[in-house]
């Protein structure tokens, strides 16, 4: 108890928190925000009441309107919290830079994590104030009935979690971007992608995973799904995934705020690994659940879907982990981006990006294989062939795109340019060949042994899709000139990976030679 009190006192003495709270509540701005917040909620209630009046009149009892009011209030609040919180944090660091107080702050004895914590807690505190101000409106629902106090309490918790996640997201962009405009734009773009991506039907078809979205959490939070053999309510998935993502965003902010603090690398990589494993646990767990408990997915389809997920997720992540600014002192490791990078695997160095991606591939494979004994299933007969071939395909594809990103990072000055160019090249190579599919109408035939549309060989997804039919039908006789689709794609990407990594080595060695010309004493 004493420790908690001491920690709380220490937290309340955070100078950033105190200053932000003082500044935020000074003047009329805070009261105007409060007024607008309550006005929007009241307006939404009036609209809900009128809609109910016109559609059902007084039928159904007061608890119907109580429930309607409750849902309206919290759905609108979710929207407002997801809009307001990132707005409060998106300028938190960039404004310090713009008003030239950033250097003065960094020079103090305050650690980067105290600064970030102060900024986040002050923003969340204001959101909590807004939420508390809505309590009188929510109490109307109790008067009308149909809502339990537990439900209301839980809904406020969902709002708090959303404030944490989206607030952390704003802080991350604020510490990464150079000015407030860019930070705000990037924050809201990411909020829209995350919010819409987890809400729309294109999101995981499981109700439980839709609870990752705060609006989904209000509706599906209590629905229970089976993950491997665990039966978990959706709010746990929401809490774990949103919580881990929020912490990851904060760790990125901390790393960016004080460039001298290199000790955050280990935590950042571990947190990324943890979040990745958590996502895989819920996705794979759910897939295994519907496959073996509900029989909604055949074991063969499970195999293909899982590797599609692994390939897609790793492709999306590869540019993030394999771009950066090459460190002159990491020259030796960069010479061998895969072999040499293992030494700095948890130090967030550029040369360790590829090994980290391979580690993620290893984790994915391990979790996938562990899924069978976890659900009490025997290994499928084709697994011993499918698994190594699929893993090798994914490995060479990741190595090729990772190598391209490394090369771009070495050649281009800006990480953002390398990142954008990398994604464009990736989209071009993997997605463009697929444009032919809607017009052919015979996709299944095209993923056989010989695609008629040659660029399809570049599509790793198609190669993966062709793997299972090829294994089922048996390998053709290589002397007959028949080479399976996925073998060509694997070899193609292996060749790209080798060429690109050799080029990376060349660029880095050239740079290293230039660096060597600097007198030893000057290094």
């Amino acid at each position: 108890m004493g420790k908690i009190t001491h920690w709380l006192r220490h937290a309340m003495e955070n100078p950033i928190l105190m200053k932000e709270l003082r500044s935020r509540m000074r003047g009329s701005k805070a009261y105007w925000v409060l007024l607008v917040y309550l006005a929007v909620l009241s307006f939404a209630l009036v609209i809900a009441y009128l809609a109910w009046w016109h559609t059902s009149g007084y039928s159904g009892g007061s608890f119907v309107i109580g429930r309607l009011f409750f849902r309206t209030l919290f759905y609108v609040q979710v929207g407002l919290v997801c809009l307001i919180t990132p707005g409060l944090t998106a300028g938190a660091i960039t404004l310090e830079k713009e008003q030239r107080t950033y250097d003065l702050l960094v020079m103090t004895s305050m650690k980067a994590r105290s600064m970030i914590a102060g900024k986040l807690v002050s923003a969340i505190s204001f959101v909590v104030l807004l939420m508390v101000s809505s309590v009188p409106l929510v109490s109307v629902c109790f008067l009308l009935g149909g809502v339990s106090p537990g439900e209301v309490f839980f809904s406020y918790l969902v709002l708090l979690l959303a404030a944490f996640m989206y607030g952390s997201l704003g802080l991350m962009w604020s510490s990464v971007a150079r000015n407030t405009t860019t930070a705000t734009l990037m924050t809201y773009a990411t909020v829209i992608v995350l919010f819409a991506g987890t809400l729309l039907p294109l999101a995981p078809p499981t109700e439980a995973l839709r609870a990752v979205n705060p609006a989904g959490a209000l509706q599906y939070a209590m629905s229970v799904e089976q993950y491997f053999t665990f039966h978990l309510p959706a709010w746990i998935a929401s809490l774990i995934l949103n919580g881990l993502a929020g912490i990851l965003f904060l760790m990125v902010s901390i790393r960016k705020v004080d460039s001298y603090d290199t000790d955050t690398s280990l935590g950042l990589r571990l947190q990324s690994l943890l979040l990745y494993s958590a996502v895989l646990f819920f996705v794979f767990g759910w897939l295994f659940g519907i496959s073996y408990s509900k029989n909604e997915l055949s074991p063969d389809d499970l195999l293909m879907v899982v590797w599609f997920v692994i390939l897609s997720v790793l492709l999306v992540l590869t540019p993030i982990f394999t771009t950066g600014e090459p460190d002159q002192k990491g020259r030796n490791a960069l010479r061998l981006p895969i072999v040499g990078g293992w030494g700095s695997l948890f130090r967030a160095r550029l040369e360790s990006g590829l090994p980290f991606m391979l580690l993620l591939l290893g984790v994915s494979t391990a979790m996938f294989v562990a899924g069978y004994p976890m659900t009490g299933q025997g290994l499928p007969p084709m697994l011993h062939l499918y698994l190594p071939l699929a893993a090798i395909l994914v490995l060479v594809v990741v190595a090729a795109f990772g190598g391209i990103e490394l090369l771009l990072s070495c050649l281009l000055k800006s990480r953002w340019t390398a990142l954008a160019s990398g994604y464009l090249i990736m989209a071009g190579l993997t997605l463009l060949p697929l444009v032919v599919l809607p017009y052919s109408g015979r996709a299944a035939e095209m993923i056989g042994f010989r695609p008629q549309w040659l660029p399809l060989y570049l599509s790793p997804h198609m190669a993966l899709a062709s793997l299972f039919p090829t294994l089922e039908e048996g390998f053709p006789d290589p002397t007959g000139g028949e080479i399976p689709f996925f073998c060509i794609t694997t070899l193609l990407y292996a060749l790209i990976a080798a060429l690109v990594l050799i080029r990376v080595r060349g660029v880095v060695v050239r740079r290293w030679e230039g660096w060597r010309r600097v007198p030893r004493a000057a290094r």
């Binding site: 100078p15 200053k19 000074r26 008003q99 030239r100 250097d103 004895s109 000057a522």
Partner: protein, 308 residues
């Protein structure tokens, strides 16, 4: 107290600071002079742990800066060339915020705030909002913030830039006070008269390279080649030139606009001897004085007018 060893900073292909070697003793006021873009701010920011050097080492109070930035930061008081203040807080709140950020215990903060406000002559503005202060006052407030944690070393980047003459003089007086308090100060400027009054050592940087550094008198002798004597005579200038040229303390003498200018490197006794020699030779001396050589002369002599 401050030492750099082959300190280097590159921004892409641009070398902003090129193998800088600097040594500043405790209690020194070191004037860091150079044209705009010479590398002064980059050097100060590397010393202040705000920029990582590309190569080389920097030490503050014997502690290596890059590897031990946490230990070094409390030792430094840094005032950037362009700085901001939080406008929506009061003067005491602003200082209290930085005092808390430097982990000064709450019970000690009030006294420290009063002390720095007194030192910077802002005592009457304690409860004013920062936005109500003039630019000169804001500059002094920033200096008060810089002093709040009692740093041993002050890194002041163009502390008087953009100020009116009165505010400039106030800042200068303040720096003299700090000098008397035994602080080690590195102050940069491209306006030389600003530094001339109170710096005991200077360093001139151009295009990232330290051209000359040391105490002002030594540098004067090294660069200008000694002092200049200005002598005005009635009508025997050629004769006076001949007499002066024969003296060992005079390196060179010439007639410039009717005035004799002699490069002199001797003692006060030698100056008296020179005057006596002229008088003894019946040269009618109207005036005899030593030309004031200042930092501007040194600066013009050693720099080439190029920036990086």
């Amino acid at each position: 107290m401050i030492k750099t060893k082959n300190l280097r900073k590159e921004f892409g292909k641009l070398v902003a600071v090129d193998n800088l070697n600097l040594e500043i003793e405790a209690g020194d006021i070191f004037g860091f002079i150079g044209p705009n873009g010479a590398g002064k701010t980059t050097t100060i920011r590397m010393l202040a742990t705000l920029l990582r050097p590309t190569a080389g080492k920097a030490y503050i109070d014997g502690i290596e800066v890059t590897a031990n930035h946490r230990q070094v930061r409390p030792l430094i008081g840094f005032m950037p060339d362009f700085f901001g203040v939080y406008d929506d807080v009061k003067v005491w709140e602003y200082l209290d915020f930085f005092a808390a950020a430097y982990r000064i215990p709450k019970r000690e903060r009030s006294d420290k705030i009063d002390n720095v406000l007194h030192l910077t002559n802002l005592g009457t503005k304690k409860d004013s909002f920062v936005e109500e202060l003039s630019r000169g006052m804001k500059q002094r407030l920033c200096l008060a913030k810089t002093l709040i944690h009692g740093p041993k070393v002050l890194l002041l980047d163009e502390p008087a830039s953009g100020l009116d003459p009165r505010a400039r003089i106030e800042i200068k007086e303040l720096l003299k006070k700090l000098k008397s308090m035994g602080k080690t100060i590195l102050v940069s400027s491209h306006i030389l008269p600003e530094l001339a009054d109170f710096c005991n050592k200077i360093g001139i940087i151009e295009k990232g390279r330290l051209i000359v550094a040391g105490d002002v008198k030594t540098i004067l002798e090294q660069t200008v080649g000694g002092r200049i004597l200005e002598i005005k005579v009635m009508d025997e200038a050629p004769k006076a030139l001949e007499i002066l040229s024969d003296l060992s303390s005079i390196k060179e003498a010439q007639l410039v606009d009717g005035m004799l200018q002699a490069q002199f490197s001797g003692t006060l006794e030698d100056q008296c001897s020179a005057l006596r020699a002229l008088v003894d030779a019946d040269v009618k001396v109207l005036s005899f004085s030593e030309q004031a050589t200042d930092l501007e002369d040194i600066f013009m002599k050693v720099t080439k007018g190029i920036v990086s």
